[in-house]
């Protein structure tokens, strides 16, 4: 039965096998019903093709037969239902209590994951092998869906509410995250990755992170550079002059910015206050030629952190 396994992507999660078992259970039942109906149909067509009219029988029905093919399918269907709910309830919706909770945010058209220590990473979810992971998910704009085929999981990310899913990866490797709910232009390009690594590697990575995240010993400029990475600004802004979703930070400080304020275009000088406002209230002044999609960082960055960011931006000439 090897050929059948190839019909599905490789299972690399703890309960993927259970889901596939349900699939094949329904497959065999369907196949039997399909064959009964089709074999009978083609046999009758062949056997009774173009017979003389007088030979046609006057059968109008048969209660026993009709009751049989109402009752037996009903019973089988109920069995399928219970099997499906059993797997759903006992595996797909039952995360172990010790699961690591990671937050997942969807944006048009990228993913962001936030670890318990506050570290944010774009598009690549790094998790240890054989540890249950529970994702608490929401979206910042439209509905998306978190879909990892190798894990057999899928759950929508809905703006304005939290949804969740969980998995336990059983094999180190890199697996595709595809967005499964239509979300606009780059829906099909909203690909992320789950990188599954060993527990030692994971712990080492976390430790290096917490060192990285302890910024008190650094100079303001160095601190700003770190915040730029850790808070996900780098997802939309470049520092080398290239255009990404948002304008580049290169030469941002002191340049003449063309912005749109309440529908009217204005020319302003980019200074500390402008940058501060752009971070806390990005939609107040929108840079001309860019979409108004930058999230507000109100409440997420301290004044000290904003100042560090500005110091860092000043160095990008």
């Amino acid at each position: 039965m090897i050929w059948m396994l190839n019909l599905f992507p490789k299972i690399t999660s703890s309960y993927g096998k259970e889901v596939d078992n349900v699939f094949w259970f329904i497959f065999w039942i369907s196949l039997i019903f399909f064959l009964i109906v089709q074999v009978a149909m083609f046999y009758f067509i062949f056997k009774y093709r173009n017979r003389r009219e007088e030979e046609v029988s006057d059968i109008e029905g048969n209660n026993l037969l009709e009751i049989t093919w109402t009752v037996i399918p009903t019973i089988i269907l109920i069995v399928i239902f219970f099997y499906g709910v059993y797997v759903f309830d006992n595996f797909q919706r039952r995360p172990p209590a010790n699961a690591i909770e990671i937050k997942a945010y969807a944006y048009q058209w990228w993913w962001q994951f936030e670890y318990p220590n506050g570290y944010k990473i774009r598009d690549t979810l790094i998790v240890p092998v054989n540890k249950p992971i529970k994702l608490i998910m929401t979206s910042n704009d439209v509905i998306h869906s978190f879909y990892v085929r190798n894990f057999r999981i899928k759950e929508d990310l809905v703006p304005g509410r939290y949804t969740w899913t969980w998995f336990k990866a059983t094999e180190p490797g890199i697996y595709d995250i595809q967005c499964a709910e239509y979300c606009g232009t780059l829906h099909s390009k909203m690909i992320g990755y789950v990188k599954v690594i060993s527990l030692e590697e994971y712990n080492a990575w976390l430790a290096s992170l917490s060192k990285e995240m302890d910024l008190s010993a650094l100079s303001p400029v160095e601190r700003g550079a770190k915040i730029f990475q850790n808070k996900g600004c780098s997802a939309c802004h470049s520092v080398d002059g290239s255009r990404m979703v948002g304008p580049t930070f290169k030469g941002l400080y002191g340049r003449d910015a063309e912005v749109v304020v309440g529908g009217k275009e204005e020319r302003i000088k980019s200074d500390e206050n402008y940058i501060r406002e752009s971070i806390l209230n990005p939609n107040a002044k929108i840079v001309k030629g860019y979409p108004a999609i930058m999230p507000s960082y109100q409440g997420q960055l301290s004044e000290d952190e904003i100042l560090s960011l500005i110091e860092y931006i000043k160095t990008l000439k």
Partner: protein
């Protein structure tokens, strides 16, 4: 003046068509409009398949691709499949099949046609007002955020809904009030039962989509905040509203098709439908259960787990009456005299494709497998097997079956059969690989895909062109033989239902004298008896 123009007298020339209140002419007006929409929707389908021939960009950019698949869906659902069978064949046949001179409200019938036309024009004109790129499901909040054309498209769909509602009302009254003497409920052809149930569903469900779309229009125009979470609304509520109509609509599309298949199978195997009452009851079973299963489209939406269980459970019960219909159709063939005419080939093709479409629904009704398969190509394949393999196949079978009725002439069996075979092979080539794509994990509405999906996508694209070829052959056959076909008399199939008991094509008022009905719709013995008497 208006009174005279809309009077029941036949009018000469073009006005005789544009202002006709004759149900047969209105049916043909629908035929031309719907076939035009079908060709348009088909062209969009081919563009989709072309784009997916290679991963990455093949012919269009993602934004344009998103508009194309949206138009394909909106046109095919709202402008083609929902109205096709009721508006064309229903309009033509219901009065004839029940021995009436017209529908109950002929002027309302004409109005319904113009509402359809208006709605269709509004939908198509939406492309002039900016991107309509939401998919036919118009999910919030995406539909709130995206371009202004969506507003126009929503309004068009809203308008077209009234056409369904009015046609539904008209049919219900017609079937209740205008049956010929002697035509008791137990002697109604199954197509009438199916049309009746469909009309009921249209009258009950269509207002809900009307309200939903209106709410969405208000939301887009005035920012009311029903569905937008930033204004305190709930996007999942939109999905509930939307599917409360759009799930029943699946049955609005398939029930009339089932009615046609029953007629074709009975006539072309010269046999009574096996278990007439079970078949009629199954229609209503499907219609009823169809109303209480909508949230099975939302198993991954974040809805509560208990709701997921309940809707999964209810969904399984749709399969019971559907199974009864399958079994009874096959049992009807037993000891009949089967003629492999074009309509019969389409009917057999229906029985094959629809069983695949129906059975693959089991994986989607089962929560644990649906979580994996939802929003992948498996779903795309599943509903095309039901909607195209079911509804469109039945429509073509019906058009061929009643072609001699409508025109008084016979089409060419050679070309007819060839079209059926092309459509059948092409159909499986197009959509079977999509099941495999879904199982391997290709999500739907994807402009680009992972390289390992290439081969299956290419097979699918080739199949799509074979369907197009088959559909083209069948349409050309119908058009050519409409004028050119051999005259075949009033009842070439020796059908026992009333529409065959008048001349072909029928006179303006359908029957010289309203018939008195003595036998059931599938009592073909009467022909056998007559033949014996003649010998």
């Amino acid at each position: 003046m208006l009174d005279r123009l809309l009077s029941h007298e036949p009018k000469p020339g073009i006005l005789g068509w544009l202002l006709t209140t004759d149900h047969k002419r209105i049916a043909l007006l629908y035929f031309w409009s719907i076939i035009t929409a079908f060709i348009l929707g088909g062209i969009f389908a081919l563009l989709i398949r072309l784009e997916l021939f290679f991963p990455g960009k093949t012919i269009v950019d993602p934004d344009l691709y998103n508009r194309i698949f949206t138009l394909h869906g909106v046109i095919m659902v709202f402008m083609v499949i929902v109205p096709a069978i009721p508006a064309i064949l229903g309009n033509y046949l219901i009065p004839l099949m029940i021995g009436a001179r017209d529908v109950a409200f002929p002027k309302l019938n004409l109005l319904s046609y113009y509402i359809y036309l208006l709605g269709a024009i509004i939908i198509l004109s939406s492309v002039l007002f900016g991107a309509v790129d939401t998919g036919w499901t118009f999910y919030t909040p995406y539909s709130i955020k995206t371009g202004g054309g969506v507003l126009i498209a929503l309004f068009g769909v809203f308008v077209i809904g009234f056409s369904s509602i009015l046609t539904g009302l008209n049919f219900i009254v017609t079937i209740h009030r205008l049956r010929a003497p002697g035509l008791s409920w137990g002697k109604l052809p199954l197509f009438i039962w199916a049309s009746y149930a469909t009309s009921l569903m249209n009258v009950i469900a269509t207002p809900v989509i009307g309200i939903t779309l209106l709410m969405l229009i208000l939301e887009k125009l005035f920012g009311v905040g029903f569905f937008d979470p930033t204004k305190g609304g709930d996007p999942i509520m939109f999905q509930h509203f939307f599917w409360f109509y759009s799930h029943p609509v699946v049955y609005i599309m398939i029930l009339p098709a089932m009615g046609i298949i029953s007629e074709i199978i009975a006539v072309h195997s010269r046999k009574k439908i096996f278990g007439y009452w079970a078949m009629a009851a199954a229609i209503f079973g499907i219609a009823f259960i169809g109303f209480i299963v909508w949230a099975h489209h939302m198993f991954t939406s974040g809805m509560s787990d208990v709701a997921r269980w309940i809707f999964s459970f209810l969904t399984f019960f749709v399969a019971v009456p559907t199974g009864v219909k399958m079994f009874n159709w096959v049992a009807t063939l037993y000891k009949g005299s089967i003629r492999l005419t074009t309509p019969m080939l389409y009917a057999i093709s229906f029985l094959f494709l629809f069983s695949i479409g129906g059975l693959t629904g089991l994986w989607l009704a089962t929560i644990s497998t649906d979580v994996y398969l939802h929003d992948t190509y498996f779903v795309v394949a599943h509903f095309h097997y039901v909607m195209v393999g079911g509804a469109i196949t039945a429509l073509f079978g019906g058009l061929f079956h009643w072609f001699p009725k409508i025109t008084g002439r016979m089409y060419s069996e050679f070309w007819g059969r060839l079209s059926a075979i092309f459509v059948f092979i092409g159909f499986n080539l197009t959509f079977f690989p999509q099941f495999l794509l879904g199982m391997q994990g290709m999500p739907r509405r994807y402009w680009d895909y992972l390289p390992e999906f290439t081969l299956l996508n290419q097979i699918s694209t080739i199949g799509a062109f074979s369907i197009a070829l088959g559909a083209l052959i069948s349409l050309i056959t119908l058009f050519v033989y409409w004028k050119k076909g051999e005259k075949v008399g009033d009842n070439p199939w020796k059908g026992a239902t009333l529409e065959w008991q008048t001349s072909s094509p029928p006179p303006y008022y359908n029957f010289k004298e309203i018939p008195h009905v003595e036998h059931g719709p599938y009592d073909f013995e009467i022909f056998r008896k007559k033949e014996k008497e003649q010998v």
